[in-house]
Symmetry: C2
């Protein structure tokens, strides 16, 4: 036993997990187990929910699916001869019911050794149950599963008493299931309970979606815990793309091991399946050596997340060709440049759809983009069709069949802006995409999506909104980065420099420096305070900060609000204009928007749940507004 | 006290609650409290979450909103002089945190008497906490709130011990918050605990969305409980329309009182605000007299739910005019007929958009419909625009700017079907609706929505899908009912009799009895087994039933499957065709569909959560299929 405890040849299987496909995942895992045995591995660790996949909607309500998952787990158990195999799967407890009245289910870690499942010491269950299920952001795990904390409460025990390591021949495994370990909701960290109960090492199997700036924090916390508890910690995260319908998440892997000194090994490459083999020292005196520096999350990882998410989502949709409506502006240029990184040039088609309002400037930029990317290009003007629509509808008189009522329809210039946008997407791009045998992208960014500065069935159409979790400023940062990592620039400098504009009317003429009504450096930050902040701000807080002269500092705007708005009335008018849109038409449009590729916190859709209720203001806001405007409430 | 206990003059305030508008709701409640005092009422009862409203998305994360709700509750408390006022509101517990790390919140019933809040006997809280939060179907209450069961577990007490009546001058009020009382997850029904702890009467305040066939069940269960426990039960449900973004729910009211013999009073009218005054006998010996017969839920209530939901949702959207694309078929006819019941005729515009494939039959039916409804009508053909699209795209050669690659695009007949559908909705209806100053409807039914037999940005567009929770057969039933309750038929008999067809190609010519590829009486039932059944069926179960000769009985199909499919191969081909669409493109389309008006169980959207994963089949299905087809697996 002593020799074994010195070091355990361990393999971290950072596999790609296919959502909802237990048989495919299991076949892959069986092959990996076989390879591990051949390679003399003694402990092989797969991610959380490696058998069924994770974000599956209400798939958990189907008995046929659950039975298949259980059968797959049995196949993995049977394959564990001579090895210790740890994997995540759904576990059933047919004698008890979940809150939805269905058979009780757990998000579980299974430990198989020589053909048998090993449960935690003293547990009635032959598997480890996830301690605390997330029920926030995109997670609705408690809709389907029961967690250990509830079980402890139900049985009148403390959570700690139920947390015990699993005894195996390679040591007592302290299994965790994507436990953040920093969550203050634990009376005691499961890590501490496992350590107190004699764990030799920690295995944290995970299915944790990529989120910008998450990895650095995780590395720091895990390193601290390993060092404090003087035990190594193995972290195995899956790779893949899974969705909750409205939101698409990537899983980045980056599995690694922290030794008992808090030093960590190289991580599995982000967004790639990886098998990491390590002789895991159980003796706390043994270290990996010099600690690797903890890396800050980089924009390149964000770029990787976007590419990986688009590639896999395209595959899940069965699409191999993509059409991008290329306006010459920055958003479509970045979307096209990302597509060009994941598709052969003959499977990417840029379509420019000019009207009388499109400048030569942007039309040339669209061609330049296609040149840079070496992809297919076509120009399909909308003038003729828009003229048909105007001829058919402007001046059309609708009548009751008996002739007693009549009403003439008029198309205003604002309505014609939307007519153009819909003509481009629903008439041209949708038809071109089908004729090309592919799909078309939605290029909306998060700034536009927040306030619905976009047209339904127009530029809000598409198979996926790949940039809709990025503020406009972040799209610019990404464009600069994409150029920096390419042998020659892919995004035309002109697209970076041109005035952002929808070019749907003469009032949006880029060559006259007219364009979008948003001052992105300011509005991006204002909108983020509404959408992304944990402590969700509303106009009440915004106006208070403005009145106190601390708005810039609070929202992180580097300019001066006084330069944007001469007085309180102007500030308030702008604030209410955008809040009304965010809470009004913005929601209606988001409900019918394509799935958003999530890369940050509070992605529109399932991670940012909202109801159509119209914009509302609190009494405190109205009182402060009246005070600032010198009016009685 | 004896005289008071004999009878309490009680008012059930079945108010309409505006979601997310605590000040408006509170102003209305204050007026009703004032009226009650004037009328000599001693106990006035408002619905669950009467202050904030109910389905509010993540609004609960905004501190400014929560503070406003609390302030409103204080105003109601202050108004309770000389009365006992019961109302639902959110309650904060700032010293503790919810699972999401935010301040702990409860779905609470407040009992105010003479300006003070009265808590349950022995409780540390001056309010009643909901015992068990729903976390299924459209409900995600446990995302935001903490329930009494968890509190009991946390404090090491039994749930029953924390359930106690609230002592007031009108008696010991056994307050429940929308407790179904038949939920087996309770170790003991809260009603029993309240009775055991001395409740004189039960008050069940509710925010229960309308669901077909729910009321009859509720009436039976509540009557049984009241009789069994020999105490009256007051049920107050709100009226209103609230949404979770993707799904829109109506609340029907139907508040009523069950006496200690299980007899009930007349209910508040469905879908109307109502004040019901009753001298509530606390003496179990006193009865209301002869029991009213428990009514089966009727199709007319369903019709009311649809009308009420459409009317209020229109108001919430700020829309007063509606455009319906009228094809001459049944779905658009029913949608238009419902609109005609809630809008003046000059605010409803039917638009027929013929192409070469539309028969004279259906075009005349569209005109007949407009005649019947007396509304506005216009015809806007799509031929010219479709020709433009064909000319622009069919044969278009996309090239790389350097000329090294070229690809010619071809529009197939199938693609042209979708071109027509998109032309109608995104080009014409969207523009006509804006010029008319209104919105346009999506007329898709649940059968089409299930398998995506509909075009994205085409007939799947619209401000709301008002019929998308009804199977095709239910749409027909509704059409017959709408005619029956009108002085003269509103839906042309021809629209009821005509072959259901999209009329997008010569293969769908209604006059040749060609149309949709669905046999609705069969497929409606098959799809319901996948979508609506609590015990969600999949092809595995369907095929087992087919093999066992019990499919018709299991799914409730009145015909014979053998008449539809000559052999197992034909049955399986059809089964897989539709399952592939339901689990494939159907999901992609539903993600971008308009909000669905929910009237039954498992409405698409938030009540039927799904991920894009592609269609999958279990090993058990494949084995049975191989057996039936006489093939090796």
């Amino acid at each position: 036993m002593t020799a074994e405890r010195q070091s355990v040849r361990t393999r971290l299987e950072q596999i790609e997990v296919l959502p909802g496909r237990p048989r495919e995942n299991t076949a892959h895992m069986l092959a990996r187990i076989h390879a591990a045995r051949t390679d003399g591995i003694r402990l092989v660790v797969f991610p959380e929910m490696a058998v069924p996949g994770y974000l599956l909607g209400d798939e958990w309500e189907r008995a046929s699916f659950l039975n298949e998952c259980v059968a797959c787990g049995e196949a993995l158990r049977a394959a564990s001869d001579g090895l210790v195999v740890v994997f995540g799967n759904v576990a059933l407890d047919p004698a008890r019911r979940n809150e939805d009245g269905r058979v009780r289910k757990y998000n579980a870690a299974f430990v198989a050794q020589d053909g048998a499942f090993m449960g935690p010491a003293g547990s009635a269950y032959p598997f480890v149950i996830k301690a605390l299920l997330p029920n926030y952001r995109e997670f609705d795990d408690s809709r389907h599963f029961f967690d250990l904390r509830k079980l402890a409460l139900e049985e009148g025990q403390s959570l700690d008493a139920l947390i015990a390591p699993v005894p195996t021949r390679v040591g007592r495994l302290g299994c965790l299931i994507c436990e953040d370990a920093w969550d203050a909701d634990y009376a005691l960290s499961p890590l501490d309970a496992l350590a107190a109960n004699g764990a030799d090492l920690f295995l944290n199997i995970s299915a944790s979606p990529y989120t910008l700036n998450k990895n650095h924090k995780r590395n720091r916390v895990f390193a601290d815990h390993a060092e404090r508890l003087k035990r190594p910690l193995v972290y195995v995260n899956k790779v893949g793309v899974q969705n909750n319908g409205k939101t698409v998440f990537t899983f980045e892997g980056q599995s690694c091991v922290y030794d008992a000194h808090g030093h960590h090994t190289d991580c599995g490459a982000p967004f790639e399946a990886a098998s990491l083999t390590i002789d895991l020292p159980l003796d706390p005196a043994v270290s990996f050596g010099e600690p690797l520096e903890l890396q800050e999350d980089s924009i390149d990882e964000l770029r990787l997340a976007l590419e990986f998410g688009m590639r896999r989502f395209l595959e899940q949709c069965g699409a191999t060709r993509v059409v991008v409506g290329a306006s010459g502006g920055i958003d479509s240029a970045v979307a096209a440049a990302l597509c060009a990184r994941i598709l052969p040039p003959d499977q990417l088609l840029l379509v420019n759809m000019p009207s009388r309002y499109n400048s030569e400037t942007t039309r040339h930029l669209a061609v330049e983009l296609a040149e840079n990317l070496g992809c297919l290009y076509a120009e399909v003007p909308i003038e003729e069709s828009v003229a048909t629509t105007i001829a058919q509808i402007d001046g059309l008189v609708a009548r009751s069949p008996d002739g007693s009522m009549a009403r003439e329809l008029k198309l205003t210039p604002f309505m014609l802006e939307n007519v153009q946008a819909r003509d481009r997407s629903s008439r041209i791009l949708a038809a071109v995409a089908s004729a090309f045998g592919g799909v078309f992208t939605c290029n909306a960014n998060k700034s536009e999506a927040t306030v619905g500065y976009t047209t339904l069935y127009g530029d809000l159409g598409g198979f996926m909104a790949c940039l809709a979790d990025l503020w406009k400023g972040e799209v610019y940062e990404l464009s600069v980065h994409l150029n920096a990592i390419s042998p020659s620039p892919v995004i035309p400098q002109g697209s970076i420099d041109v005035m952002p504009s929808a070019e749907l009317s003469a009032d949006q003429a880029v060559d006259e420096q007219k364009g979008d009504p948003l001052v992105y450096p300011y509005h991006d930050r204002l909108f983020a305070s509404w959408v992304e902040w944990w402590n969700r701000a509303t106009p009440e807080e915004n106006l208070r900060w403005y009145a106190d002269g601390v708005l810039e500092k609070q929202i992180g705007y580097e300019g001066s609000v006084a330069d944007l708005f001469p007085d309180a009335a102007a500030f308030i008018a702008d604030l209410e204009r955008w809040w009304n849109l965010y809470q009004g038409m913005g929601i209606a449009k988001r409900i019918q928007a394509p799935p958003v590729l999530g890369v940050k916190r509070r992605v529109f859709g399932f991670d940012h749940r909202e109801s159509q209720m119209g914009p509302r203001y609190t009494r405190a806001y109205e009182a402060l507004k009246a005070e600032l405007l010198g009016r009685d409430l």
